[in-house]
Each structure stands twice: as structure tokens, then as C-alpha cells.
Amino acid sequence: MDFSFLDQLWVARFPLLKGLGVSISISLSSIVVGTVLGVFVGLALTYGVRPLKWLVRGYTDFIRGTPVLVLVLASYYVLGTVGINLGPFQAGVLALAIFCSSHVGELVRGALQSIPKGQTEAAKAIGLTFPQTFAYVLGPQALRQALPAWVNTAAEMVKASTLLSIIGVAELLLRTQEVISRTFMSLEFYFFAGFLYFVINYGIERFGRYVERKTAVPS
Amino acid sequence: MSNLLEIRDLHKRYGTVEVLKGVDCTMRQGEVISIIGSSGSGKTTMLRCINMLEEFQGGTITLDGAEIGYETVGGVRRRKPEREIARQRALTGMAFQQFNLFPHMSAAANVMLGLIKVKKMGRDEARALAEKWLDRVGLLSRIDHYPGQLSGGQQQRVAIARAIAMNPRLMLFDEVTSALDPELVNEVLQVIKGLAEDGMSMLIVTHEMRFAYEVSSRVIFMNQGRIGEEGDPREMFVKPKTERLAEFLKSSTFN
């Protein structure tokens, strides 16, 4: 690699850093909102009364059947049309959060359903109410089960945050493209951006493995 | 007459643990030899060396005068090419403790696979042989059943038919009844007895002492990686020469 790339990288350091910051805040906000939503989705899928369960099942199936990019574009264009004026950042985060919620919802449902029926029965037998059963018996077990996969969902959200460049959110990838349009060094700068994403996601992946080891029930 | 199988000074190590510490054994055509011994004595390992499911570091195994698995060229011992080893493996048949039938193939297809792929037989010829051998083990009526639809004893009989259909020079049985429910053991042993009566050469690793007593022309007692004692079962089981064998026989049940 010749030195002009390093020069250009130095010149572009602030926009790129800002972009990285935006990428991280997109990811964080969509993970937080998506997880909160997703826990409710998961609970509704597992314990909800029939009509609610069907409604939520329809929601998750629809979201999971639609590409994230379509969610992002639809959120961006549709919200404005119906008079909700959100910037591209908010619209994009909303789309990613909805996407995240359907994944987390499935995770929560899978984790809760994997707990043997005997656990609930044992809790009932010692006289626990359902909220107590959930708080002390089911919840902790489901959390252990779902945590490693949830960390992977976080990595998915970081990757999905790049899609917001398409609706003009100045995150890392869009900043990179801007730098490329000025310097014409597409090879170097795409490689650099890819490397940054790799480092972040690889870190998350390793963290996920660590969590997996930590949450394993001693046996 | 030359020997069917000759094992000379067989040594086998897993890492630093030596499981076979110099085994010598010869076998003539038509002999039925049972190998007994406690677990960890090396009896299964010895069997698995004969068809190269295990590599071994020292000694030679020859079948019909041809060295199995290894060749020495210019003083250097090396593994034979995989094709040659595959060809040699087809000269022996093996039945496993866990049957290892191919679950995605019917009983007939299990028997036919080796005939078609290794013996290059046509489908019709292979099917006819499969019918013959499945009939022989009493499972002609189950010929198109899948392993998952058969009992353990039936699966093991199909596995024996699969091995024997390849027309091997020597059959190797590796604790073929150990994974079976007690009431299914006998049907499998009957099949093996039938093969013995036909004059098939067989090496049988087993925990069934009464069966070993009844079917074998010779018994080998393995002890800590060596042959502890061998001889006619009618003498060995009644008057063991070594204390080890006496102890082993006392701890095993005859039924």
C-alpha cells in the first residue's frame, strides 16, 4: 500500500471517526429498543392468549419474511407519507429495531419453550405463583439459554447498520463512500471500512463465545 | 498348508499408551477363534488392526500371505496407498457392536452398496445376492425395510449379511451382541453358528462365554495387551493354566 492512502486516511480521520460513532449509536439504539420490544414479542408468543398470539405471530412472520433493506426503505419513505416526520436516522433505527424485535422474540420463545414442563410443575408444587415462577425459575433459565444467541443478534445489527447508508444516514459506510468519491481510492477505503466492521463483529463474536462458556450450567 | 492369517509381534500405541504389546497369532482357513478378556485388554483393538480401522506401529499382519496395510520399501515402513488398503479391507468382513447400518438405505441397499461400488456388480446381480443373504439371516421379508424400522437383533443380522455378501476370506465380529437386549442376543448368535457350520473363518470378540465355548475351535484370552493364554475352549474353560484367566472366568457369567 502506498503512502498516499495513509495521507488520505489522516485527512479523512474526523469524518470516518464520526461515521463510526454514528454506526455504533445506530447499532446500540436498535439493539436496546429491539430487545425490549422483542422480550414482549417473545412473552406474547409463549404465554399470550390466542388472538394476541396470532397477531404477534403474524407480525414476526411478516418481519422475518421481509429483507431488512426493504424494512429500512419502507420505514424511511412510508413514515413521511403518513405525516410522521422522522429523519433518516430515526426511521432507519426504527426499522432495525423492528427487525431486531422479531429475532429476539423468536429467541425468547425458543428459550422459554425449551424449559421442561416439569420445572413449572415443580414450582407450582412448592406453591409459587406464576409471576414468582417466571422470576425465579423460568426467567433465569431462559436468560442463560438465550444470551449467547442474543449476542450474535447484536453482531447482526452492527452489520445491518450499513443499510442506513442507502437512505443517506452518514454512518461509517456512507462516510467511506464520500471519502472514496473524493480520493478515488475505492480499494483501500472499502477494505479499511470492511476491516473496521470485521474487528467490531469479531470482538462481539468472541464475547459471545465467552458468554456461552460463562452461562453454561455447571454439570 | 499355509495360514490364512498371521499376526507377528503386533504393537499399537495411542500416543504414549501402548495397548498392544506384541501379539502373535496364526489362524488356519475354517477356524473359528473367540477372543475374550476384560475391557481394555486390547481385544477389540487387535480386531480393528486386521482391517486397518486402526493403524499400528509395529509388527505385521498377513492375510493369505499378503501384508496388510503397510509395506517396507528400502527399509522404510510406510502405509500402503488408500486404494490398496480399501481393496484389502474388502477381503475381510466386519460386524460392529453398534451395527452401523446406513440409516438412509433399505436392508437390501445396505447389502448392495459394497457389491456395486467395490465389487462393481450390476444392480440385478447385487440384488439377487442381497436376497440370498438376507434370506440366509432370516430377514427376506424385511428386505425393503429401513434400519429404523428393524429391531436391534434384526439390524445386526442385516449388518452380518452386508459383510458376508462381500464373500470375505475372514469375518471379524466385534462384540456384536453387547448392544442388544438380552432376548435378541440368541437370534444373532444362531446366525453366527450357522456360518461356522458352513466353514467360514471367523474371529469373534465376545463377552458371551457359553457361546465362545460352544462355537470356537480355539479361544484366545487377551490380558493387558498380550495374549494371556490360548487353546481349546474345552480345556481352557475347565482348567485355566493362568491365575488371570481363572479370575476372569470367575467374574464372567456363563449363561
Binding site: 422475518r64 447508508s165 470492511g194 | 482391517n51 486397518m52 480401522l53 475381510t92 424400522q149 462381500m166
Partner: protein, 220 residues
């Protein structure tokens, strides 16, 4: 707020959406087919005893899985020409998605390979089959049955990833939808119809995979 739904403009362009969908399916089919070949070879590398195979296979999977696909798509189309690799939009995208899906499919296949009991290989060896014969007649058929459920969901997610081709102006479903959106201003209708087409295709693919699963199920 008053917005009355009016689908007529979208229906007039419906054939464009269908053409887009057909292209999406074509892109996915080509990429997944190539990806299966790459994934199968890589999976055997991942479970190989030799580090010479395992290391590069692991590196490939790790790099691809941790890089956003949009970066890969843009890199192949805009940056590779600098290295003298000049591909059309569609070729570039199919190649990228194939390499991308190869990594994910490798992980799927690896799981299926590990689940095949070692006794199956030994039984194959014992009747004199070669390693290659064992792989084609025994290991791969059993592995495929093991992985069918996760293979289905991976394929569906790869099909959805064809929407990324819109970023380099490949006229697939998402690209056409966006075009109709901009031209007709029937924003809500366009995206409802486009999403429904994706959802319907995904459910159809899922049903298809379940049928294949039933068809290949080992009788018991």
C-alpha cells in the same frame, strides 16, 4: 391525516415487480448453488484433521461472517475493477453472494457432518469403500438429512439478501419497488405489495423445504 389507499398505480407496474422478483429468485438460485459447492468443500475443511485445510477454511468463514454483506457487494463492484477484475452488475453480485453464502452454508454443513456417527465411516471402510465413495454414498446424504431444517432457513435468508443488489442498481424486486415508489408516490401501497411478495416467496420456499424434508425422511 388523510391518506386513502389506492393500489391502481402499483397494479399498473405489477409486471415490473414480478420481473424483479424473478430476477431476485434467479440471483438467489445461482448464488446458493455455487455457495453450496463452496460451503461443502469448506465444511470438509472445517472438520478436517489437518490444520492445512482447517485453518484457511476457518479464516474464510470468520472473515465473511463478520463483514457486512453491503460492504462486500460494494467492494466487489466498485473496488475489484482497480485490481483488473471487471464484472457486470449481475455477475459481480452473484459472485459476491455465492462467496458470502458459502461461508454460512459451510457452518450449516459442518454441523451436519459432526452429527454423522463415526461408525458410519468405519462401516463403509470395512466393506472396502474409498474415502470418496464413503463421502458421496454415506456421509453427504446423511449430513443433508441432518441439516435440512437449518439449510432451509439459511437459504431463505440468502434469498432476502438479494435485496442488497439494489445498492448497485441491479433491477431486482427491491430496486423496482423503490423506482415505482419514486415515480408514482404511492409509497405505502408499493412497499406493502413488495413486502408481501417477499413474504409470500419466503413462505413458499419454507413449504418447499418442508416437503423435501418429508420426502427424504428416513422411514422409522
Amino acid at each position: 391525516m388523510t391518506y386513502t389507499l389506492n393500489f391502481s398505480a402499483v397494479w399498473r407496474s405489477f409486471d415490473l415487480l414480478l420481473q424483479g422478483l424473478a430476477l431476485s429468485l434467479g440471483l438467489a438460485a445461482l448464488a446458493i448453488l455455487a455457495g453450496c459447492a463452496i460451503g461443502l468443500i469448506t465444511a470438509f475443511g472445517l472438520v478436517s484433521k489437518s490444520a492445512l485445510w482447517r485453518r484457511p477454511a476457518g479464516l474464510y468463514v470468520t472473515i465473511i461472517r463478520n463483514t457486512p454483506i453491503l460492504v462486500l457487494v460494494l467492494f466487489s463492484y466498485f473496488a475489484l475493477p482497480e485490481l483488473g477484475v471487471r464484472l457486470g452488475k449481475i455477475e459481480s453480485f452473484v459472485l459476491t453472494l455465492a462467496i458470502y453464502s458459502g461461508a454460512y452454508l459451510a457452518e450449516v454443513f459442518r454441523g451436519g457432518l459432526i452429527a454423522v456417527p463415526p461408525g458410519q465411516r468405519e462401516a463403509g471402510l470395512a466393506i472396502g469403500l474409498t474415502e470418496l465413495q464413503i463421502r458421496t454414498s454415506i456421509i453427504i446424504p446423511l449430513m443433508l438429512r441432518n441439516v435440512l431444517p437449518s439449510l432451509g432457513s439459511t437459504m431463505i435468508s440468502l434469498f432476502k439478501d438479494t435485496s442488497l443488489a439494489a445498492a448497485i442498481a441491479v433491477p431486482e424486486l427491491t430496486f423496482e419497488a423503490r423506482k415505482i415508489n419514486v415515480e408514482t408516490f404511492r409509497v405505502i401501497e408499493t412497499w406493502i405489495v413488495a413486502s408481501c411478495l417477499y413474504v409470500a416467496t419466503c413462505s413458499l420456499l419454507a413449504a418447499l423445504m418442508r416437503a423435501v424434508e418429508r420426502r427424504l425422511a428416513v422411514p422409522r
